[in-house]
């Protein structure tokens, strides 16, 4: 279908964006890469009065290393993240996730910040940023604030970005030498939204798991951290028995509701399969 009519404006500064958002209220939507927004407009699931194209804003694009943090500008295209040497070296979890995000033509236009700000529960990047304990930078007319990933994702397509605000950057801690991370998802077609997926980071102390952050996507209203499962695993050797216990505990963390892709029971089963694969991968990696 074709979208309902809307007005279009392409401001050249954040100050101008704030003015437009304040004037337009609920009728305005920010347009970054548009790779999720345009489908919702074309399907008329959403009919904003004005699209505020933020692609002309300076300074929101690019990847830089700042001490022990990697900063990814909100308007950085997926393809740039996918091919970034900085990301490969300092945030290998994100590098591993990139090829799973839709298809090349969509990664050429879609943005890192757009994916985080939309917070689709089946999307890869929100889960990665939560697993990495990243931080979001949010700008508004009153100034800039920072929100930890654990407080950022608040429900189905709900985030800490308030009315009149713009997500400007995401920062993740660089992966330290003793840390390991792993990413896996199961999708019907390469590039489709996952039926279930996992983004995990942890530290293997000798052969014992420490400080695990296990985040599942496609199995809840938002990226889901599996806290009970992490507790079962902490301080343990990754053996067949402990993997079994962790898989059992995952039922306390996740109660997936079925969607067009798979039923709830199937999703929980797939999440358990992915958990075992992720733990095997973490245990196997060279420290």
């Amino acid at each position: 279908m074709k979208p309902a009519p809307f007005a279009y404006v392409k401001p050249a500064s954040l100050a101008e964006v704030f003015r437009i958002l304040a004037a337009a209220g609920d009728g305005a939507r920010l347009l970054a890469g548009g790779q999720s927004l345009m489908p919702s407009l074309n399907l008329r699931l959403s009919a904003p009065e004005v699209l505020v194209d933020i692609n002309g804003l300076p300074g929101l694009r690019g990847i830089v290393l700042r001490g022990d943090r990697l900063r990814i500008g909100a308007l950085t295209r997926h393809v740039e993240v996918e091919h970034s040497e900085l990301v490969r070296r300092h945030a290998p979890l994100i590098a591993a996730a990139m090829p799973h995000i839709a298809h090349p033509a969509i990664r050429n236009r879609g943005t890192f910040g757009g994916s985080i700000a939309l917070a689709d529960p089946a999307a890869e990047l929100p889960a990665c940023v939560l697993a990495l304990d990243g931080e979001m930078e949010i700008a508004g007319s009153a100034g800039t604030r920072r929100v930890a990933a654990g407080d950022f994702f608040r429900g189905l397509y709900e985030t800490a970005v308030g009315a009149g605000e713009v997500l400007t950057a995401v920062e993740v801690p660089t992966q330290q030498p003793d840390w390991r991370s792993t990413f896996a998802e199961l999708a019907r077609r390469h590039g489709d939204y996952a039926m279930a997926g996992i983004a995990a980071q942890g530290w293997i102390d000798g052969d014992r798991a420490r400080a695990l952050r296990l985040v599942f996507f496609g199995v809840g209203l938002q990226p889901m951290r599996a806290v009970q499962t992490e507790t079962v695993l902490t301080g343990q050797r990754i053996t067949r028995d402990i993997v079994g216990a962790a898989q059992a505990a995952l039922g306390q963390d996740l109660q997936p509701v079925g969607d067009i892709q798979a039923g709830g029971a199937t999703k929980l089963h797939l999440a358990r399969v992915l958990l075992a694969r992720a733990l095997a991968s973490l245990a196997r990696q060279d420290p």
């Binding site: 279009y8 790779q35 489908p39 090349p104």
Partner: protein
């Protein structure tokens, strides 16, 4: 804030200046206003790949980009790539391998394949399938399409083809 936007761009090397409705997608602009009907409209939500065109040198979904957003950009469509001869070997291989059946997906397949053979010269069949996964062929001619792309990769590696 306007519902009609003035845009200037290059389409297949030609300068174009038009006033477009803000909600007009790039692929509809190319087809309905410029008469470039080689790019097709399929699902209109980014799943099928029939509308794939090049924007400033990279493939993008013509249905998920507004014409208003490509002001100042260089657009290339299957018509332009055909005329330039840059995908002649891919087109020949698609015909040779019967990778064109109804033809609806072909423009998108060719544009994505062109990007693949340039970006991943060492791609094997699995890598070709992964790269092409965003383009549907409703005739299900995938084996033939992968065959054709594999043949072109082999030719180009042997230095027999252009590029």
């Amino acid at each position: 804030m306007q519902r009609d936007i003035e845009i200037s761009l290059w389409v297949n090397g030609e300068p174009v200046r038009r006033r477009v409705e803000a909600r007009r997608s790039l692929v509809d602009f190319l087809r309905l206003e410029l008469g470039l009907t080689g790019s097709h409209v399929g699902c209109e939500h980014g799943v099928c790949g029939a509308c794939t065109v090049r924007v400033d040198g990279t493939t993008q979904r013509g249905c998920l980009t507004l014409a208003a957003q490509v002001d100042g950009c260089r657009i290339e469509t299957v018509e332009g790539l055909s005329d330039s001869g840059s995908i002649a070997d891919l087109q020949a291989a698609f015909l040779e391998r019967n990778a064109v059946q109804c033809g609806y997906c072909s423009a998108g397949m060719l544009l994505t394949a062109a990007e693949l053979v340039a970006a991943r010269p060492a791609a094997d069949r699995a890598a070709i399938r992964a790269y092409m996964a965003g383009n549907y062929c409703r005739c299900t001619g995938y084996q033939a399409i992968v065959d054709a792309i594999e043949a072109v990769l082999r030719q180009r590696r042997a230095g027999a083809g252009p590029g």
